[in-house]
Amino acid sequence: MEILQLVVSGITIGMVYGLVALGYHLIFRATQIIDFSQGEKVALGGLLALSAMLVVGDDLWLALIVATLVGFAIGWVYEWGILRRTYGREQVVQIIATVGVAQIFYQGHGLIWGASAIPFSHSLSGNPQAVLELGGARLLADRLWVWGLVILVVGLLHVYFERTRHGQAMIAAADNRLGAQLSGIDVGRMRSQAVAVATALAVLGGVVIAPFTLAGGSIGLPIAVKAFAGAMIGGLYSPLGVVAGSLLVGIIESLAAGLISYGYRDPVAFGLLLVVLLVRPSGLFGRRLTRVG
């Protein structure tokens, strides 16, 4: 049953990648930018939750809400202060800016909370050892909470974008900026919201994964790459696709860690990204120009 256990833990980490990848999707759709700082926001999540618990008491659920709201605010400030100033500029400028922000997040939480990861003994279910029996397989109750929570958030976002007027307006604004402006939608505000929500999602991912790993440390970069692999597999434009792709990446990396060696987890997942990027139909040659001149 080892493989089943590996898949189960792969799904859990894949769910977190899914939240991060959903953030890639939102920011890319709104701004045409891949935000390299998405991964570091995950590292920030666990740390924010730890600090929140110093204030609100030993309640992970409350800390989760506080951390997510703080993440939303950080995202808003980040969009306003930095990202906004790169719109319409060369991609190299955008890349270097968001890579720099990733460094600021990484070094910043290193300064505030220390460079090494911090043990995280809190649990969503209240008991980190609680186990459920499901058809012979043993499942940590905490995993179930993560799965449920991520599915709930993805579902809520889906309903928001597909069923509410405000969500539809956001999609319209993202896909047709000029048209949106003409019909009175505030594109700048839409972009702020997209980045803020994406940041909140990554922070939330950081909170829910912390009980299984540690909080903070240098987890950000690998998560950024792996969630991007998930987003690429699912197709960056499809919100449900990026979550599904991320689950696949989580499962593959978990199997590689368990069946080959733990240390090959990252190289295998990164190699997967390279393969996906290169076989993607729309490379330089797939995207022949339709009109020159």
Partner: protein, 265 residues
């Protein structure tokens, strides 16, 4: 070359190109004589720029064949069509290298007419330095040819629109092309600049270079071209000397809409 059989400078046969639901070029065929000036005209969306892109290798036809100087070209990449088959082009929206100087732009045009790859470029033996001198002189000569010597050190994007057009033509001429494609060269020019351009096009042809231009300004087209090819819906609907084409009812219909030719007839 002069001893071989005479080929048309350009020949295409049954060209097709579709973008999604839009059939931009639908079976176009035509031939162009060497050292002549030909205009490709037609209403917006008739497929003129698409044909230019197919000829220059910036796009590939779904079907059909292209010969440049008798050599098959439809599957060659753009840089080989420019460098080996000596077909140069300009673009509808000017595509200079904006941050580089005028002289640098034209020197880049000399790329395929000079030698020296990575190692030679780093070590710069005497022959490379001689090449550099030669390329610089050639680029200056082409700037002189289009009348822009004074502006050689200006940054390309700082030039006026008309001057940028001329730099783009000088840069294309620096390839020493046998065939030059000009995509709406007179767009945005004032009447004086248009006249200068017409004279320049004649001067280029005088050097034995075949010129094919897409142009909306009919006075220019009628003045310089020997042959006019009219496109509509991606097909050649008429072709011949300017006067004959102007009188052709299909052409009038294409430009003025159905019924126009009847009411005038």
């Amino acid at each position: 070359m002069a001893d071989g059989p005479m080929h048309p400078a350009l020949r295409c046969e049954n060209l097709h190109r579709r973008f999604g639901g839009l059939q931009a070029v639908a079976g176009a065929s035509f031939e162009i004589e060497p050292a002549s000036i030909t205009a490709l005209i037609g209403p917006n969306g008739a497929g003129k720029t698409t044909i230019f892109n197919l000829l220059s290798g910036h796009d590939r036809p779904d079907e059909g064949r292209i010969w440049i100087d008798g050599q098959r070209a439809e599957n060659l990449p753009a840089h080989r069509i420019a460098g080996e088959l000596r077909l140069a082009r300009t673009f509808q929206t000017i595509r200079l290298f904006p941050a580089l100087s005028v002289l640098e732009n034209v020197r880049i045009g000399c790329h395929s007419r000079s030698r020296g790859e990575f190692l030679a470029s780093i070590l710069k033996p005497a022959w490379v330095r001689r090449e550099e001198e030669r390329v610089r002189a050639a680029a200056l000569a082409w700037l002189e040819f289009v009348g822009l010597s004074k502006r050689r050190d200006a940054v390309a994007e700082a030039l006026s629109y008309g001057e940028q057009r001329l730099v783009e033509i000088a840069r294309a001429l620096a390839l020493e092309p046998r065939c030059l494609l000009l995509d709406e060269p007179a767009a945005g020019l004032n009447p004086t600049e248009s006249d200068t351009l017409a004279a320049l096009i004649e001067k280029v042809r005088g050097r034995g270079i075949t010129v094919l231009l897409v142009e909306h300004k009919m006075d220019l087209v009628m003045r310089v071209s020997r042959q006019v090819i009219v496109l509509n819906f991606g097909q050649v609907i008429a072709s011949g000397n300017p006067a004959a084409v102007q009188a052709d009812p299909r052409v009038i219909e294409a430009y003025l809409g159905k019924g126009a030719s009847h009411s005038e007839a």
